[in-house]
Symmetry: C2
Subunit: 471 residues, 2 copies
C-alpha cells in the first residue's frame, strides 16, 4: 500500500473562477456571507469554528454532483452539512472549501409499509421522519439526543437510546446513494432485507463521515409502532448495582427497548431543566415495547431484577404524558447539563465497553472526575455499554479544555484496556483522530487510509477527519 504525499494541511486556495461557476449554476443558493459561512463552519463540539469559503444549498443529487465536479476541477474540498449537531468537529472546514447544505433535501421519497422500509433524502431530521411516518403505524427508532439529520446520522453511524433493542444506523440502513469524489453517483444495497452481493459498500459509507462521498439518499428499515409501551424509573445505591440489574435482565432475554443510566449530577440537571423532582441518585430509565401482556411481563421481570440488586422506588410511568415527560427530560439531558455551568461548553466522551466492564469503567472514571474541578455529569446507554461524560468547561479558560482532554484521554485508554471503543456513536471527526490510532492500531488505520486514497485520491471529501491523510 503506497500512499501519495499529503497535501499541505492548511487552507487550500479558493479560486474566483470556482465561485463564479457556482454562482452561475446556483444563483442565490450559493453564499459567501460571513454569517452563513460561520453557521456552517461550526458544530456542537468545543472547537473554534473553521469557516468554509462558500456554502451551497443543494436541492437534489444533481446539485451535489455539480458542486463536487466543480470542486474536483479546482482541487477544493467539499464538506456535507446536515443539521450541525455533530459533537466532534466533523463540519469544520479545516482546509477551507465548500459546505454543501443538505437541509433542503429533506423529502421522504417513498414509504414501503409492507416491507418496513422508507427512502429519504439526507436532510430530513429524525423527528421530521417520524412525523411523516405517523399514520403508517411504523416508526424509525434511532434517536440521538439532538434532532439530527438522517444523513448526518448515517455518516456518523449514530445510535441513541433505542439501540439496545433496534440496533444502530449500522443495522438500519439498507442502502444509499452517494456522490463520489469524482462526481459519479454510486448506489449501494437494495431494498431486500439481506444480501451477500459483494463488498458491503453500504456499511462502508455508514460511518465514513463524509470522507468518501456525499450521501444523497438513504433507505432505512422501519418497525411497527409497538401495540403497548410502558416506562419505569428506578434509583440504585450505586452504578454497579444498576449495571448488574441490567446485565441480568439482558441475560434472561428480556427484549428491553431502552435502558438508560443517569448519575446523580445529571439527575439534578434534568430536574432543574425539566422541572421534575426525581431523586438525585444513580438512576435507570426503562422502556418496554410489545403487546400489552408482553410489556407487563417484561416490566415485572425487570422490577424483580432491580429489587434483587437493591433498586429503590421502582416507579411506573403508565400514562403516555408521564412517559413522554420522562423521556423528553432524558433526551434534553445534554442541554440540561450545559445549564449546570452558565456559558460553558461541553467536552463529551463517548466510550463504549463490553457491558461486563461497564460498572468498573464508570466507577474508575468517577474517581478521576471527583479529583477534577470540572462539573462532569454522566449519562449512559447502559444496555450497550456506552456512556457519556459531559465535562463542562469555560471556553475562555484554555486550562479547563486541557483538563477535559486529559480526562477524556484517560477514559478512552481505560475503555480500550477493557476491549471497548473510543466512540460508541458520535464518530471520530477531528476530536478522536489520535484515539482512533490507539484503538485500531497501525494496520487498520493504514487499511482505512488505503481505501480513502483509492476512492478520493486528491483528499477532497471532508479532508482532515477520522485519520490523517499520510502515515
Amino acid at each position: 500500500m503506497n500512499h501519495p504525499a499529503p497535501p499541505a494541511s492548511v487552507r487550500r486556495p479558493f479560486p474566483a473562477e470556482l465561485l463564479s461557476a457556482l454562482k452561475s449554476l446556483f444563483g442565490e443558493r450559493v453564499s459567501i456571507a460571513e454569517a452563513v459561512r460561520a453557521n456552517h463552519g461550526r458544530d456542537e463540539s468545543p472547537f473554534d469554528p473553521q469557516l468554509p469559503d462558500a456554502v451551497v444549498f443543494a436541492r437534489n443529487t444533481e446539485d451535489v454532483q455539480a458542486v463536487v465536479r466543480l470542486c474536483a476541477q479546482y482541487d477544493v474540498p467539499v464538506i456535507p452539512y446536515g443539521n450541525g449537531s455533530s459533537l466532534e468537529g466533523h463540519l469544520l472546514a479545516v482546509q477551507g472549501g465548500v459546505s454543501i447544505d443538505l437541509s433542503e433535501m429533506n423529502r421522504v421519497l417513498s414509504i414501503n409499509a409492507e416491507d418496513l422500509t422508507v427512502t429519504v433524502e439526507p436532510g430530513i431530521s429524525r423527528k421530521q421522519l417520524n412525523e411523516a411516518l405517523r399514520d403508517t403505524g411504523l416508526f424509525f427508532p434511532i434517536d440521538p439526543g439532538a434532532d439530527a439529520s438522517i444523513g448526518g446520522m448515517t455518516a456518523t453511524r449514530a445510535s441513541g437510546t433505542n439501540a439496545v433493542r433496534y440496533g444502530t444506523m449500522r443495522e438500519n440502513v439498507l442502502g444509499l446513494c452517494a456522490v463520489l469524489a469524482d462526481g459519479r453517483v454510486i448506489r449501494t444495497g437494495t431494498r431486500a432485507r439481506k444480501s451477500s452481493a459483494g463488498y458491503d459498500l453500504t456499511r462502508l459509507f455508514v460511518g465514513s463521515e463524509g470522507t468518501l462521498g456525499v450521501i444523497t439518499e438513504i433507505t432505512l428499515r422501519l418497525y411497527p409502532q409497538p401495540e403497548a409501551v410502558s416506562a419505569a424509573i428506578c434509583a440504585f445505591p450505586s452504578m454497579e448495582s444498576a449495571v448488574r440489574a441490567v446485565i441480568e435482565t439482558i441475560q434472561i432475554g428480556v427484549p428491553i427497548a431502552r435502558v438508560e443510566f443517569v448519575d446523580a449530577l445529571a439527575i439534578r440537571a434534568i430536574n432543574r431543566h425539566s422541572n421534575l423532582t426525581l431523586r438525585e441518585a444513580p438512576t435507570l430509565f426503562f422502556e418496554f415495547h410489545g403487546t400489552a401482556a408482553g410489556v407487563q411481563e417484561q416490566a415485572e421481570l425487570v422490577q424483580e431484577m432491580a429489587a434483587q440488586n437493591a433498586g429503590e422506588g421502582f416507579e411506573w410511568a403508565t400514562r403516555p404524558e408521564d412517559r413522554s415527560r420522562l423521556w423528553n427530560a432524558r433526551h434534553n439531558a445534554y442541554f440540561a447539563m450545559l445549564q449546570l455551568k452558565p456559558g460553558c461548553r461541553a467536552v463529551t466522551t463517548d466510550v463504549c465497553v463490553p457491558i461486563s466492564r461497564l460498572a468498573e469503567c464508570v466507577v474508575e472514571t468517577e474517581k478521576d472526575l471527583k479529583a477534577s474541578s470540572l462539573p462532569c455529569p454522566i449519562v449512559g446507554h447502559v444496555g450497550d455499554g456506552n456512556f457519556h461524560v459531559a465535562m463542562l468547561i469555560d471556553p475562555q479558560r484554555p486550562e479547563e479544555f486541557a483538563e477535559a482532554e486529559r480526562l477524556n484521554h484517560r477514559i478512552v485508554q481505560r475503555a480500550l484496556r477493557m476491549a471497548g471503543t473510543c466512540t460508541g456513536e458520535h464518530g471520530v471527526g477531528l476530536h478522536k483522530i489520535d484515539f482512533l490510532v490507539e484503538e485500531a492500531g497501525p494496520v487498520a488505520i493504514d487499511t482505512m487510509r488505503a481505501i480513502k486514497h483509492a476512492l478520493d485520491p486528491r483528499n477532497l471529501m471532508n479532508p482532515g477527519k477520522i485519520f490523517s491523510w499520510a502515515a
Copy 2:
C-alpha cells in the same frame, strides 16, 4: 480510479522453491496429493473442480501469515478453506495456488457470557460452536443448511432460518482478525456492542469471500437460549396466501424467530428423506422464541393471521422431539431435494426481494419452472424475502446446466426489477459475477475493484471471485 492491467486469468506458475519452503515450515501439514487437492478444489456448486497446487493445514494465525508471506514472495494465490460447503464456487483454485485448510483452527478462544460474546477460530462449525455453548445458556443463531464453518459463514455473509429475528452474519460479527495480502495481521472491531470508530472494516471483511485476506479469528454476538420455544406448521392454498399471512404477522410486530416456506415438491422430498407424512402443499414452518406466555401469545396471533389467509391444518409441534424432527427435516431439505433425481447436482438460486414482492416473484418463477423439464423444488426464508430454487440437473448433460443457468438468470433479473438482490446469503463466488454487475452497476463494481486493488494489488487473495480484476 486507475487499475493496473489484469494478470492472465490462467493458472499461475507454482515454483518448486515455494513448495520446498512450505515443506520445510509445515512438514506433513503441506500436501500435494491429488486426493487432498481434489477435495480442496471443489465445493457444493455445480462447477467442475479446479485444484490448488498444494494444501496447507494451518493451526494458528502465524501459520496463515507464513503461507501468505511465502505466496506473496512467489506471486502465488491463496484460497482459504473451511468446510467446503460453498454453493457458488468460492473454493475453486481458478488460478491455482495454495489452499489454506482452516479446519484445525476450530477452537473457542473465549466465551464472555455476561457480554453475550464469543471469540472463535474460523474452522469451527456452527454446530460445534453451539455444542461448546450448551452449558452457558447462550446460543449462536445463524444456521445455513450445511454445518458450515464460522469463517466461511463470515466470508460469505451467510444467514439461514433464524435471520428474520436475529439477523445475518452482517449483524452478528463484532470484530475479527485477518491476515492481509502482504502478510500483516489486521484486527477490526472490539467487543463493544456498537462503535463509530472509523470505517467499518469488520463489515468490509464480512462478505469479502477471501478476496481481501484470510480471516483467522471472529468475535460473535450470542443470544440467551429462549425460555420457551414452540413450533408450528400450516399448509396454504397458494404461495400468495402464505406470504400474505407472514407480511401481516410481521407488520403487527410479532417477533417471530423462524418462518420458512416450502413448496409442494420440496415437501415431497422432505417426506421421503425424513420419513414424514406432511401434506404436499405450499407450507409454512414457524418457530417462536420467548417466555412461555410470550410464545403462546405469538403463536395465537400467527394462527389467527394464517386462518385469515386461508391457512389449513395449523398444527403445533409442542414436544421438543417433534420440533427437532420438523426443523431437522427443514434443514436437510437441500439433501432431500437432491434425492428427487438420483445422481443429480443442484444449481441453486438465492434471490432476495422486498417481502411485498415475494409472492409475485415466486409465482412468476413457478411459471418459468413449470415450462422447464427440470425438477425444481422451492424453499424460502419467507420473513426475509429470500428463496431458493434447487434446479436438479444431470451433470452428464450440459444442456441441463444451460437450461438451469437460463432459468437462474431470469429469476435474478426478475428479483432485480423488484428492488431485490441476486444473492441473499450464498455469496457471489464464481457463479454470480455477471449477476452482480447487473445488480450493482458499473460505479459500485468499480468501487469494489478499487478497494481490492488497494488492499491486494497483486490479486493474490482468492482471485477470480466476486468481480473480474479489470473492468
